[in-house]
Point group: C2
Chain length 376, copies 2
């Protein structure tokens, strides 16, 4: 009685899509934002709290988990869902991005990457086949193909070579991935900011029969305009019937721009990381909760937010906690930020259903333009 | 319709007392352990989570709060209960202990203490009258008289002088404390480990008509035996009709020994601090969750514990979180430790009601003797 992995588009509004992904671990309403649970925990959050915000799928980082506590250990303990008490869908990345950004002594060849752990110096190898095996051990609901996240900036020849390597690795990943009912594997399009390379990459992935297509190699310094231009260039070639995942994105306005351009899934450390550093996301833009202007403010971060931080605490208290480096400051603000991101996704889903996405976007931009500071 | 501050002894078993304190913010079943919420937060815990363990009263630290965010600010924001979202009873200490252990450039005179904040160097004064005023601004349910926590070791003459200063400050504290229905103020007996000085101190407090009597100046390095001897020396002189609070104590076996000697209230940072450093309290003694022996262990910390850490997570996972310095590790283990302490208090209350305190103590000691390591 296991649901096969499938995707339904329920409504569209321009290029924006309202969909639903069915998986072995539950359904995911799209567009969806996936909170990042790097080391088998969404930092500073209980999983029940993450779920309470409306989040249905989280992301785990293969690189971190393969190093500590190891994929085999997580497998032996019943898989990542059980290990971290998140029964819902989990997407794991391939490990490639973090290997190239975090690991020591890394060496990339046609076969894959060898590296030393930044934690304990232990030596590891990551090939497409290894990555599939590790993600299987983790019990990832959605497995990501191993790719090379093309650095930015890069010349076109370099971007082409990198993309072609990723396509060869995509084929090896797809071949090595072991089918299980309700589980899926996504390919990743590369090509940097070059429209024709993106087209070539997406077309190369088509015959590989992935369950979804990710856009990788963006949000790496190219800026919002160039990111949106690249998404515009991709959109016509992306298969309508498969979910599309923009990796590592982003700020709320990036998510809105991504959904507008046909993206169905996102992940980013921003709401969780900002929760620890004191930045709150609101409908009037991000605000720094460490700022002295909050020190006597009895109001919540966001009057319209239903999270515990906004229901039960003042800005003055949240500021106090962050100034005093109290964990509860990170706990409450992370919760708020995840709630804000999930509310944003829920409102986008409603707007698409109502055919009112443009109005929704205009409303958000008007809120940002108004800003946070009111006369008191 | 406000309840007056009162204390009922419901049952006794030897010197152990099963009681109930009535306050403006709710009742407290005694013997009670008060989790420490130093800077207006029980570290790494949501207040709802603290309450869920059975904790009915928490402690706030006057020194920390007067410095940051300041008592006046907390008052203006509706008091500490509202500020930190803990509607139940709160006991605040006088500030004296932390001034002498944490502050810079402190100077003690008959009048009080002047010092500079260890946070920002700002200059402050703390007299008995100041302490009462600050605790009133914080809206403490139970206010503590300002005392000098006598250092240890000390000769008898020094202990006598220090105790007599504390008695003069106790009188000034009691006189300055502003009566409000359902609020109380406790005096603090000093006298180090000298039985006759303890007797003198307790007798000096008697005419001051405090709502409760604290035993201060213990758990400062004298060791468990000398602490228990001192409690034994105090017990005959403590008024039966008032709650007795042993400050800054302790480990589970200290709490059992304290209750056995007539103590009704305790506070200690141990369960919360240990939750952050990886020590778990169990019925088989404390265990270090960072130890490698837990790395593949699918069992909970304590099979008999109802806390979320024990219901939903393996030792392997808790160990992983602590090794990876993930906040959730501190969150879960703090929760467990607070739950264990509250379970310990609940079992002691039941044992006193059943007239079975000696059996209870023997059972706990047997569990400790058995230890944590089972054949697997």
């Amino acid at each position: 009685m296991t649901t096969p992995f499938s995707f339904d588009v329920l409504a569209t509004d321009g290029a924006a899509r309202r969909g639903r992904i069915h998986t072995a671990h539950g359904t995911i309403e799209t567009p969806a934002f996936m909170p990042v649970g790097t080391a088998a925990t969404v930092k500073a959050m209980m999983p029940e709290s993450v779920r309470s915000t409306g989040a249905e799928i989280i992301l785990g980082n293969t690189y971190h988990l393969m190093i500590r506590p190891s994929a085999q250990r997580i497998h032996d303990l019943g898989g990542l869902h059980r290990f971290m008490n998140w029964p819902g869908p989990i997407l794991t990345d391939s490990g490639g991005y973090q290997v190239m950004s975090l690991a020591d002594l890394r060496k990339l060849t046609e076969d894959g990457v060898t590296f030393r752990s930044h934690i304990d110096g232990s030596k590891h190898r990551l090939t497409p086949e290894d990555s599939m095996d590790i993600q299987r051990l983790l019990d990832a609901t959605i497995t990501m193909a191993l790719d090379e996240c093309t650095p930015y900036p890069i010349d076109k020849a370099g971007a082409h070579n990198s993309m072609q390597l990723s396509m060869r690795w995509a084929k090896r990943s797809r071949d090595a991935w072991v089918e299980r009912p309700g589980y899926g594997v996504y390919g990743i399009a590369q090509g940097s900011v070059f429209a024709d390379l993106r087209e070539e990459s997406i077309k190369a992935l088509a015959p590989m029969d992935f369950h979804g297509i990710a856009i990788g190699g963006l949000a790496v310094g190219e800026g919002r305009d160039l990111m949106f231009d690249t998404l515009d260039a991709c959109e016509p070639f992306l298969p309508a019937e498969k979910p599309r995942y923009l990796m590592g994105v982003g700020k709320p306005l990036d998510l809105i721009g991504g959904v507008k351009r046909g993206i169905d899934q996102f992940d980013c450390v921003l709401p969780t990381r900002s929760g620890r550093t004191g930045q709150a996301f609101t409908w009037r833009g991000p605000i720094n909760m460490r700022n002295a202007r909050h020190k006597d403010d009895p109001r919540p971060i966001d009057e319209s937010c239903s999270c515990p931080a906004c229901r039960n605490y003042s800005r003055a208290y949240i500021r106090h906690l962050h100034r005093a480096d109290e964990m509860l400051g990170a706990m409450l603000l992370t919760w708020h930020n995840i709630q804000h991101y999930q509310d944003l996704m829920a409102r986008m889903r409603s707007a698409i259903e109502a055919g009112a996405f443009a109005d929704f976007e205009a409303g958000v931009l008007a809120g940002y333009a108004q800003g946070d500071i009111d006369p008191r």
